[in-house]
């Protein structure tokens, strides 16, 4: 039986993703196009929010992925610290810029929606604030990766930063709740059916969330492969220079 750790071998990882990546990419495009076209053109306007409600198809999935990308980085960092698989460290590194872009998309779409609905682009609401703090954590993490030359040292330091940062990001999340009252509505999605948005919006939303998840997966796989190859090229050129 092959275990999950087989893919910790970079060669095996590249071989497998060679086959998987096209499927994931195509599926991501299909889901995104279906979800967004369905959401934008074939759902009714909301009776209070008008057509601005449709930004939900970008805002909610990107916000979801922004948090999940950090979680994925946390898991990958833990794997690196415990089992020291290089692919894992590279995957964490590959996920960071994607996660950062997702947080920025969520913040930008939120601001665009907030202007007509709340009458302001920005409010110091707990959710908005904790997202801004998450953005800062992403910046710090990426900056630390790029500041250190030695790959292993960088992987070690950033993975510890990711662990400590996760604790503090969580603390900040609850601290800002304490600090200011919220303007943002509750969760749009939850396993509890009562709290969900109405069904007309719900199904296309699910499709576009699937699209964002697949897009994230495809980008992370692609970036991890690039990192592996870049490192291989670096090693090869060093070896050539020594001969």
């Amino acid at each position: 039986m092959t275990s999950l750790w087989t893919y910790a071998n970079p060669k095996k990882f590249v071989e497998t993703t060679d086959k998987v990546l096209p499927f994931v990419s195509v599926l991501a495009i299909v889901c995104l196009v279906t979800g967004l076209v369905w959401g934008f053109f074939f759902t009714p306007d909301d009776y209070r929010q008008g057509s601005t409600v449709k930004i939900i198809y970008i805002h909610v999935p990107s916000a979801l992925m922004a948090i999940n990308a950090w979680l994925m980085m946390l898991v990958a960092s833990l794997i690196w610290i415990v089992r020291r698989h290089h692919v894992s460290a590279l995957a964490a590194r590959a996920a960071a810029p994607v996660g950062l872009v997702m947080t920025l998309i969520a913040l930008a779409t939120g601001a665009i929606w907030g202007q007509p609905m709340w009458g302001t682009y920005w409010a110091w609401d707990p959710r908005l604030t904790s997202f801004l703090i998450l953005t800062l954590f992403y910046f710090g993490y990426i900056a630390l990766w790029s500041a250190i030359e030695n790959d292993d040292t960088a992987a070690d330091l950033t993975s510890i930063l990711c662990l400590v940062g996760s604790v503090f990001a969580l603390l900040s999340r609850y601290a800002v709740n304490f600090w200011n009252q919220g303007l943002h509505q509750g969760a749009s999605l939850s396993l509890d059916k009562e709290e969900n948005v109405a069904d007309v919006f719900y199904h296309p939303l699910l499709v576009s969330i699937a699209g964002f998840v697949l897009l994230f997966l495809a980008l992370v796989l692609l970036r991890t492969r690039t990192e592996i190859r870049a490192r291989r090229v670096r090693v090869l050129s060093t070896r050539q220079r020594m001969e």
Partner: protein, 218 residues
């Protein structure tokens, strides 16, 4: 450990150690505020707790890169690493020395500087209490940041980028205590949360700092 603490304190106090620079910076930040927002007494006294907390936080940040940088350059950090003292103890002592040389003077100077911002009499107690409880957390978190960036040349800017987001919870609760004290509300909840953050940081972060320092010394 005590020898290391005394050594660090002595180094900090002697000329060129940067002792007092943090205080001077704190004073200047506070003096600049009225120029920026106007000299109106009511406005100044209402923003005073926040400004004083922010000033103390920035003054703390300013002296962070000194914690390890000098020892790293002259090699005494390597000696400390091979000494029988565990790395966790070294970073704890370093954080303590940082707190004694920047945190404590800041807390002691706050009552004098607060007068410049027209802080009303009832705000003093909770402001000083919150700073006294919060600055140890600032030092310990800052030591972690300093340990992360010790091997990087010109890491000062990166250090602030890494440390400032980590300061958010401490700042929120600390400034909340000071603000509530000023308006006469009950301060016990944020005070307890602030104390919790400080205790948690002191208990757990030295392990992270020591791990990071070991990686950097490898």
């Amino acid at each position: 450990m005590i020898a290391l603490l005394l050594r660090d304190l002595r180094l900090a106090i002697r000329a060129g150690g940067g002792f007092g620079l943090g205080l001077a910076f704190f004073l200047i930040v506070v003096v600049l505020v009225p120029f920026a927002v106007g000299p109106e007494a009511g406005l100044l006294s209402s923003i005073a707790p926040g400004i004083l907390w922010l000033g103390a936080l920035l003054a703390c940040l300013l002296s962070l890169d000194r914690i390890f940088a000098l020892d790293w350059e002259d090699g005494s950090l390597d000696l400390l690493a091979v000494s029988p003292l565990p790395m966790e103890a070294v970073v704890s002592v370093k954080a303590l020395a940082h707190w004694l040389t920047t945190g404590v003077p800041l807390v002691l100077a706050t009552p004098l500087i607060a007068v410049l911002l027209n802080l009303p009499g009832e705000g003093f107690r909770s402001l000083i209490l919150s700073l006294a409880l919060g600055t140890p957390a600032l030092s310990v978190i800052g030591t972690f940041g300093a340990a992360l960036t010790v091997g990087i040349k010109r890491g000062g800017l990166l250090l602030s980028l890494l440390v400032l987001p980590l300061y958010v919870p401490t700042l929120i609760f600390g400034a909340e205590v000071a603000r509530r004290g000023l308006s006469g509300q009950d301060t016990s909840t944020p005070l307890l949360l602030l104390a919790g953050i400080t205790c948690g940081a002191i208990a757990l972060l030295p392990f992270a700092s020591a791990a990071v320092l070991r990686v950097n010394l490898r």
